[in-house]
Amino acid sequence: MYTLVKIELYKIFRKWRTYIGFMAIGVLVPVIQIAMYFQGAHYLEFLTRNFKDNFVFVGNLLNGYLIAYIILGSLTIHIPFLIALVAGDLLAGEATAGTYRMLITRPVSRLKLVTAKFIAGLIYTNLLVLWLAVISLGLGILIFGVGELLVIKDAIIIFAQNDILWRFAFAYASAALSMSVVCALGFLFSSLVENAIGPIVTTMTVIIIFTIFSAINIDFFRTIRPYLFTNYMSTWHLVFDDPVNYDEIVKNLLVLTGHIAGFFGITLFIFKRKDILT
């Protein structure tokens, strides 16, 4: 299995499209950071405008942590597209290229081949989130320095400097799990068709529709919300609550893991029975 995963990773990283995600993050995050460097004070002022009369904010609030927090919040909506770009191609790409015939006629079970591809897809997904962490948090700290983290939700929460890094580690880990669901979904769609464009577009369409359903506050959508995986994809936010509701986080992460296992299980079921006609 190790050899198969290694081969799949080699194939993924020899394709140009793989680097689109890394390049997009590598360009976008520094651009946001540069913009915040010059205009972050205005942004912070806007953020705290309602509390100015009652609170006095002191210290370096516009720091690397705040920037990383803002970036994490905005990019998790867009990263699924970068994940789908690779996950949707994992199986369908072989069909398009006609290489299924070479691959599946090897003396290795379809189960192993599909599992190796999926593991490689998960590794890519996690590397992309890690890259996001390195660029947004690492570079953010280098540019803006460190300080306390100001989080405004229903209330203002200010986390002490020594209470932040573990939260980010936890947040990136749960973001990685959320993105792994996207990877599993893209992989499932990839097993159904012979062209990679379809799975990429379908994955994004599902995520967009589910996200809209999750956001609309009407009774009907509130009822179906618990059944939509997108509802659990922003679990990383919960790490920045005080106190942290661990029960809720564990439940959400289990739901996400269940989705990954479910999507992968369906993919296996389909692929084991699939007639390779390309």
């Binding site: 050899t3 198969l4 081969i7 080699y10 194939k11 020899r14 394709k15 290229a97 006609g98 290489t99 299924y100 015939r101 070479m102 691959l103 599946i104 006629t105 090897r106 003396p107 290795v108 079970s109 029975r273 007639d275 390779i276 006609l277």
Partner: protein
């Protein structure tokens, strides 16, 4: 003689279309087995079932005396195949493609072995080139390379000369004969060209609409049948008159402007020619056509 492939009542249905219908075939050790049929006859579907790319609707496949369904991996280790056109990872080199496929198969992927195979198929000088820069013929050669990399006992080739120039076709034929004679491989060769199979195979089957039409040794099948022989003569009317008074009359199939078509056995051609010459009728040409060939051509034309 040991059966290498034993197919019984093999059927594949795609919704309402029956691509392969109760097909039986046997391939023996050491055979170069020609698998003939017009386009759409079910050849590739059969090969896909032999290579586990698609699942049969019914019937059984035994390879090396073992059920393919239950011993898939063990059997595939001993088979090398080209299924339809050989497609590779275009963004990787020929060398890397072979290395990857070899590693998945768990065979020897040392530099020596890969270069040995590339040399065998005449691609050693292009080993570094990306496959996307290869011509169709070069991809066919690389396809053969990947089929031979793990030194298989059985080689399944699905129309391996498609798209090749005459020289390329000749080289592939020579390679097939070399693999059979020098390396004792069993070869299953699919083709829609009778002449191609005739040149290399010792046994063959013709299928049409997914069903066996005829099966046997190439020698038996080609010699057992009468030949349709066209004699082109200078004086057709006089020839007609002379023939009407002889036993050759019974052998006539039809007349053309200058041609007479006979149904003859091979030995009779020389006697008939001698007869014409003795009668003072000049014979401009003698064109034999075996009835199997004609039959196959008819199948092919209908298939097309």
């Amino acid at each position: 003689m040991q059966k290498i492939i034993e197919v019984k009542n093999l059927t594949k249905k795609f919704k309402s279309l029956t691509a392969v219908n109760n097909l039986d075939l046997n391939v023996y050790r050491g055979d170069i087995f020609g698998f003939l049929g017009p386009n759409g006859a079910g050849k590739s579907t059969t090969i896909r079932m032999l290579m586990t790319l698609i699942n049969p609707s019914s019937g059984s496949i035994k390879i090396f005396d073992k059920s393919l369904k239950q011993n898939r991996n063990e059997i595939l280790k001993k088979i090398g195949a080209i299924v339809e056109k050989p497609d590779f990872y275009g963004y990787l080199s020929a060398y890397k493609n072979l290395e990857i496929l070899g590693q998945i198969s768990g065979c020897d992927t040392s530099n020596k072995r890969i270069m040995e195979v590339l040399e065998l198929v005449g691609l050693e000088k292009r080993y570094k080139s990306k496959v996307k820069t290869f011509s169709h013929g070069m991809k066919q050669r690389l396809g053969l390379g990947q089929a031979l990399l793990h030194n298989p006992e059985l080689i399944i080739l699905d129309e391996p000369t498609t798209g090749l120039d005459p020289q390329g076709m000749k080289e592939i034929r020579e390679l097939i004969l070399h693999l059979s004679k020098e390396e004792q491989k069993t070869i299953f060769l699919s083709s829609h060209i009778l002449a191609e199979v005739e040149l290399v195979a010792n046994r063959m089957i013709i299928i049409n609409k997914g069903t066996t039409v005829v099966e046997g040794t190439v020698q038996e099948l080609l010699n057992a049948t009468n030949l349709k022989v066209t004699f082109e003569v200078d004086e057709i009317e006089r020839a007609k008159k002379i023939l009407s008074e002889t036993q050759w009359q019974k052998k006539i199939e039809s007349f053309g402007d200058y041609q007479i078509l006979f149904l003859l056995e091979k030995e009779e051609i020389a006697f008939l020619n001698k007869f014409f010459v003795e009668q003072g009728i000049l014979v401009h040409s003698i064109v034999p056509k075996r009835s199997l060939e004609e039959y196959f051509l008819n199948l092919t034309e209908k298939g097309a």
